[in-house]
Each structure stands twice: as C-alpha cells, then as structure tokens.
C-alpha cells in the first residue's frame, strides 16, 4: 500500500513549549489509524497542522504525493482532507442540510445543485436525515458530533480526521457512532481518529499511535500497543476490556 497522508519531522511550539516534536507518521490509503495520548500531548495540534489551521515551525506534510505544507486550509480541504472538531463548530444559523451544502459546494468543488444528492446520502448515512431542516444551533451534542462528521463527508474527503468525536457521549451513542464510522470506512475513506475512549477506537482502527509530549511513544497493532508497559504508564487509568 502507498501512503496517502504522511508527515515528516513535523514540529510546532507555542512560545517555549514544544507541542509537536519532530513527529513522523504515515497513513496508508484505506487505513484507519487511531491516535491516543494524555491531555496536552499534542494530538489536536497535530490535526491543526495537518489541516492547515496552524503553520508548522518545521517539517513537511505530504498528501497524495503532493507537498501541502504551505497550502492554505481551504485548499487542503478541497484536495481531500476532511476534519471534525473536538468542540463542534456548527453553522448555528443554518439548517443541517445547509451545513452539509457548504462542504458540498466548496470542499467537494461542485456546484450547489450538483451536491444536493450527495448531501442527502450523507445525511442518511450519518443518521441526520430527520433533522435536515432543523437549525444546527438547536441540535443535541450527539447530533452536533454527527453533523461535524457529516459536514466533513460532504466535502468528499479521501482522508477523514476525527478529533475526539466520541467524547461526552453515552455508551449507547458511542456504539451508534462507531457503527457509522465503520460504514464510512467501508466506503473507502481513510481515517485518522484521535480519541480518549480507547475501546471505541479499538473496534475500528487497524493501527494505533501513542503520543506523549509531542513525540511518538509507540505504534503498531492496537492490542500490542495497549499492552506495552510504557504506554500503560503514561496513560495510567485507561481501562481495556
């Protein structure tokens, strides 16, 4: 398999605090990769660097063979990188359907009318069809998380970055969400998923990466990574069934 997304020697510091420290990572086409790490380990910053919300201090980001390190955020989305935010950023004054249309009409590079059908499909896939005409500001937390995912899918991404999408949900809701994410994967979308709820992650991903203080602590088969004593030490308190 060839890597669709890779980062090489990526670094970012805020003042004297090094948040991402010469980080390397590669995502194969069609793969689902999980990222775990304690709070403040640099997971969200890594996402912000990959999507172009933040400029890196050093290193390169490659997507589908192209160097996108200096590409603005909206062009990275159009190239095929979709993301969801840890704290949902819904377009509150727009309907759920319109939220998706923004992704369809800009991120997917189609005309608005041409993206209608795909947006309807995504609404059904993510279980939001009954909320299509509701204002996004009126949604519950689970629906907002689903909207984050649905909007990103409307851009027809090749890689989907999910930032703690299961956080704050009940067990039942997590199971539904995991099923949806599995379905998205089945459609050929590669996934990078940052999550604290490890059992949710374990049921989807092929490979697990552990970050601590901006560096890669371990990576590989999810179960083997979880069983690594060094990982258990930094991640003390996680329950693995």
């Amino acid at each position: 398999m060839t890597a669709i997304l890779s980062v090489e020697g990526l670094s970012k510091s805020f003042g004297s605090l090094l948040v991402v420290d010469s980080f390397d990572m590669a995502l194969d086409d069609g793969e689902a990769l999980g990222i775990i790490g304690p709070n403040g380990a640099g997971k969200s910053t890594l996402f912000n660097l990959i999507t172009g919300s933040l400029p890196p201090d050093d290193g390169r980001i490659l997507f589908a063979g192209e160097d996108i390190t200096h590409l603005p955020a909206h062009l990275r989305c159009r190239a095929g990188i979709g993301r969801s935010y840890q704290i949902p950023h819904p377009f509150r004054g727009m309907t759920v359907f319109e939220n998706l249309l923004v992704g369809g009409a800009f991120g997917a590079g189609q005309s608005e009318a041409a993206s209608y059908d795909h947006c309807v499909e995504v609404l059904e896939q993510t279980g939001l069809a009954s909320k299509a005409n509701a204002l996004a500001g009126s949604l519950t937390l689970l629906e907002r998380k689903r909207l984050e995912m649905a909007r990103a899918l409307a851009t027809r991404p090749r890689v989907l970055l999910l930032d703690e999408i299961a956080g704050g949900l009940t067990e039942h809701e997590i199971r539904e969400l995991v099923a949806t994410i599995g379905d998205i994967r089945g459609h050929g979308v590669s996934i990078v998923w940052v999550e604290h709820i490890v059992h949710a992650l374990m049921s989807v991903v092929d490979r697990l990466v552990v970050i601590d203080f901006g560096r890669k602590l371990d990576e590989g088969d999810p179960q083997a990574v979880i069983d690594n004593p060094a990982v258990r030490e930094v991640y003390l308190g996680i329950a693995v069934e």
Binding site: H74, P90, F91, T95, V102
Partner: protein, 338 residues
Amino acid sequence: MTSRVVHSTRASRIGMSVAAVLILVLLTVPWWGDRATMRLLVEIFYILALAQLWNLLAGYGGLVSVGQQAFVGLGGYLLFILVIFLDIGTIWTVPMAGVLGAVISLPIAFIVFRLRGHYFAIGTWVVAEVFLLGFAQVKALGGGSGMSLPIAAIKSIAASRADRDATIYWLALALAVAVIAGIYLLLRSRYGLALTAIRDSEEASRSLGVDNFRAKLLVYILAAFGTSAIGALIYITKIRITPSAAFDINWTVTIIFIVVIGGIGSIEGPIVGTLIFFLLREPLAPYGTWYLILLGVTAVVVMLKAPKGLWGLFAERFDIALFPVQRRLLLGAVDKPG
C-alpha cells in the same frame, strides 16, 4: 434520488407580493405626493440601502466597519469631480461613482484586511479620517469649506424642478430596490452559503473548503460599490458638499443603530430598523438632545432584550421569513434510493 430543495415559504410568497405592490405604489408618488414627502422618502431609500450594505458587510461577512462614511464621502466627491472636471451628466455619476469606489476599495481592503476584529473596525475609521483630511487639502475641491454643484449640472438632470425631483426620487427608489434585490440574490447563491457559514464560524468554513478571504473581499468591494453610488446620489440631493459632512462618522453610526435595532444578519432587519429610525426621528427630532438620548436608550434596550434585533425576535416567535435565503429539503422522497 428525487429529493427537492426549495427556498420559498408561504410567508415569503405573500411577502414578495406585498413588496411588489408596495414598489408599484411608491413608483407613483411623484404624481400625487408633495415635495416634502418625496424628500423624506428619498432619504429613507438611501439610508435603507446604506443599512443593507452595512448589514451585508458586518452581519454576513463579519467585517464590522465603522468607516463606511469613507465611501459615502468618496461617492459624493466623485460626483463633484466627474460633473465639474469631466463634464459627465449628473445622473451618470451615480453608477460611475460606484465603479470607481469599488476600484479604490481594493487597495484599501489589502490594508484593513490585515487587521482583525476591533482593530479592523478602528482601521476602517482611520481610513475614513484620512479621506476627510485628504479631501480637505484639495484646493480645487474647495478645501475644508467644500463646494456646490453648478446650476448647469443641476439643470442637466431635468429642466423643471418637478421633473428633477421626480427623477431623483425614482433613482433613489431604484437604488434601494436594486441593493435589496442584489443582496437577496447574492445570499441565495453559492456565495450566500459561504457568507452565512463565515458569519457563524470562520474556522469551520475554512475547513470545509471556503476561501474566507475571497468571500470577504467580494463583500467589501460590493459594499464599497453600493455605498459610493449612494454617496453620489446623496450629494445630488444635498447639492453642497464639505469634507466634514461627507466623511462624518454619523453616517455609519446611524446605519449601525438601524441594523442593530432591526436585526443584524437578515434582510428584513435593516428594513424594520430604518422604519423605526424614521418613525422616531420625524416627531422627535425637534427635541434635539432628548431625541438623541431616546435613540441611545432604544438601542441599549434592544441590544439587552433582543440581541437579534426586533425582527429577530419577531421571526423567531412566528418562524417567518419574508426574504428566505434558507434552503429547505423536501423530505417526502428522501428514502427512495437512486
């Protein structure tokens, strides 16, 4: 898939019919209205158009400018420059001032767009002050004491006073209708999606492929175009221009008051705000200071009690939109696959 997407609602179809009738009635005013009524209506039209443009800028583009008087004054001075030095027909200066204002706004945009939030607001104000000081230096334009339109230029609008008044009236009405229709069509287009998205979250719109900078630049240039054209019209009605009046920050203060009390981020809001502004002003203006205090109190109360403005309060309670920009998905056919 047989899903269908519609914009219109029952309220909006009624609203459109009422608007069409209202425009037809307004068109006939020069045949039966007196001079004072027409003058008042002209003022309402241009203030309404200015408010709509500021709402597009701030309510959708997130560009809270307090320096739109730069373009009101610029449009006004362009009228005098075009008429006196280039011998252009007075009425034609209105579209020309719009185009020139848009061109001049481009370099300004590249300066003020480097500033964010409050700094952007202050930056736009500074630009307007620079315009004021700059125009006051130009001897050929009368310097600080300004200048008047030559009689010949006034006569070139129409020979008789009644015809002149009617022409200016129709021009003002046409501008107001064109501004509202233009903004409505813009918001219903693909760019409307982008602008509404930017209004709600710049971060998310960027990550969904929207070029925020381009969308904001478009809005800034469109607002400059409209505001400069209206500026030329305003000074056709005023006949006399001075830098301190043309670049007066009160242009923008009035407009912000209107948009805020009416409801920012909707087309209906500035219409409601303009009506309230003139309803308060007409009977109360003679009281001077007390009138201004009342305006201030009105603004504060509305901001505290109805942050989305009076139209926002009303629209939320009754779920009504006269200018619907929302796309509704008709769900009946959604479940049938391909």
